[in-house]
Symmetry: C2
Subunit: 478 residues, 2 copies
Amino acid sequence: MTLKLYNTLTGKKEPFEPIEDEVRIYSCGQTIYEDMHVGNAKTYSAWDVLTRYLKWKGYSVFHVMNITDVGHLTDDADRGEDKIAKSAREKKLEPMELVTKQVIKLYREMDRLNMCRANIYPRATGHMVEMIEAVKKIIGNNYAYEVDGSVYFDVPGFAEKHGYPVLGGRTIDDLEAGAGGRISDEEIKEKHSPLDFALWIKAPPEHLMQWPSPWSEGYPGWHLECSVMGLKYLGKTFDIHTGGIDHIFPHHPNERAQNMAMHNLKEEPIKYWLHSAHITVEGEKMSKSKGNFYTVEELLERYDPMVLRTFFAGLHYRSHSDFSLKTLKEAEKKLSRLDNSIRLAKESEGGKKETLSEKINKVLTEFEEAMDDDLNTPLALSKLIAFSKDINNNLDNRRVILDEAVVVTKELANVLGIKLDREQADIKAEPYIDLLIEVRENLREKKEYELADRIRKRLESKGIKVEDTESGPRWYGI
Amino acid sequence: MTLKLYNTLTGKKEPFEPIEDEVRIYSCGQTIYEDMHVGNAKTYSAWDVLTRYLKWKGYSVFHVMNITDVGHLTDDADRGEDKIAKSAREKKLEPMELVTKQVIKLYREMDRLNMCRANIYPRATGHMVEMIEAVKKIIGNNYAYEVDGSVYFDVPGFAEKHGYPVLGGRTIDDLEAGAGGRISDEEIKEKHSPLDFALWIKAPPEHLMQWPSPWSEGYPGWHLECSVMGLKYLGKTFDIHTGGIDHIFPHHPNERAQNMAMHNLKEEPIKYWLHSAHITVEGEKMSKSKGNFYTVEELLERYDPMVLRTFFAGLHYRSHSDFSLKTLKEAEKKLSRLDNSIRLAKESEGGKKETLSEKINKVLTEFEEAMDDDLNTPLALSKLIAFSKDINNNLDNRRVILDEAVVVTKELANVLGIKLDREQADIKAEPYIDLLIEVRENLREKKEYELADRIRKRLESKGIKVEDTESGPRWYGI
């Protein structure tokens, strides 16, 4: 069976054929000025499932996900303030201090969400020399020009030779028609065309993050880092580039143009471009002012991370989806169903039937068919849940078949990023100790002193000291 | 009371006076090619206690700890292979892939060891432009010269004008006498003097990590990053520089020389240089071949992180110390003593005496005196443990005084990086659930069905399902 992926570059579902044995993937990651929110997590979960599925199909995968720590302005059209610098100023931190905090937090939250580690998380500030070299090359190949210390990419000049397929089916003409509205005369006075974008931006002296370059003390344009880091770690041509739909324009066409301009490439530098749709929250665009903004941090305070992953698996990455606490409840139920069928299969005494064998083959095929169709995770998940019902209805199968059913359920859930049948290490002990103390009180009321005392002693042997005070029993860890 | 610190630069204990209000500290951190071992952890714990103590004394602190991800060769005399590249080759990883894995692990282990986050963890590869600019400046100020694409710092030329105090009481003459033995004629053919060190090293083509520069495709000398990152984040002069004793030569004198050469500085760029001694393991130098090499990761599998911190607090940072599993046992006892006295004070009914008040003032003074004397943590810890005995012997004090004793114990332990009286979040729930199931069985045997059933229901409300099977009860998380 062949995986087909929807390629935004061509607007078609295409069979996936890697360039070399190892599949090389670049994912646009977090601009690290704020916490990961539920929309970011939905997108990164999609790419996590992509790499998991490719591995499940037998490919080896090399995955790079960048972290933007400079150059991403508050407006995509080379205007506004640096997002990191702005957020750092608001929080009264040094920009790199903010980056340090946020990067550590991001890794921790990705771990909790059971996202496989990318092979490299390169950071923009770690590639300043390479970015400056890239600008030199692009100028050298006559695709960029300098104006007063800033350097701009010549989009019309490039488009004439190599085309400028605006991803998502739009053409450069669509942009030219609309460009007047995007940028005021004042703002474009340095640009030869409103379509041009900055490769290097001369920094005002008060700008906190700036580096020396042949053109000015300044900083790189936002699009540049992905070109440079993709080329450095994945090569001049690689397989898959992922991002959110907001990257369809201008980030990704500009990145593509830079890659080609740098090396005078004739062929497409990146074969498949995948874009994940955003989610709304209770029907509305998520925004802090509306109070419907959910960070991963706050959701993980209230929900099992696997509930979130089950929720994300239930969405197709290209579909606009809606998030609400109600949808999480539904995801929670789905997760329970999967966990319960495993539990029942494990507990079952077994029997002599072999009916489940056929169901196992069926779910494997159906799961792969669904995933092969542009990663249709909602369908794959529903097939897996249907299989969990098959398990529940066939607990009288041979032990070895029940075991296989458990393995297959866990394996397929794992491809979707859902860890089932977890160790209970994360369950906190306090409520159970409280309950033991309460039971002991009940026993003492019933004058069952021996059992009551045994509870106290057993707790003490585990390092929990129970003290009876005037206001009732209290316990402490010794 | 005034803090005195032993300054390796002068070889004396000196009163600590910060240059400005905020104390600025730079710590040489991990070269990220291998896991943090117990010796690293001992050093970083010392600097963690330094920042904690300064904060406790009312200073505000800005702490930078670097992460070396390029340029640290296997030999300090500009020879050998890049440590990262070598380790990556051995592990069959890309160098930056190794760095990604190791950095994430380092942060996690530092968290578990209750080390306060530094404000910034800058990485060498993130400061390539700044390093190249620094080399330009040093050449411009006539303290460096280029030979065939590599750039060397002119140590004798610099020493003539600014001195070259080799930290640890040695002089440049000691080095010159010994230098012939350090470097062969072959190796120094590019260097004007055997004391000179590399600022920029021309890379052989097969070298994985290299960057373009005005001199060659190459990579920075190891000493350069600390100069550049210290200057960038802490300014031309700052308060404290920390490191291990292996940095006393050549890393730190070279760093000092670079800082001064870059800006033609006349004054000392860094006021206090602190160096932490290494630890041996069971009397021998720790080494992988001897099998006495302990990583933090493996120790944390077997020991409470606070046992490790108690062990480190029991060592003076400048004393050579020995580590063994037996010494950890002793640390475990010390930790229990502190925890127990808090528990007893909390549990006590209290009384009318006020004898503990005086002891509280005494421990506060003694603790500060010990710490003021070049961070004498072993003495400070022993005073705190003596105080815990005072608590145990004075449980009949007024409730408010007992409460104060608890607060003071926790506060002082915290200065030493030891978290007492912890939340029980880390206690695993399984044994308590098992005990509840067992109690329920006992109740059913005694025909106390109502209480037995209440336990089952309460467990279920917490997501624990109890199933009675032929082989006895079993439970699962739902």
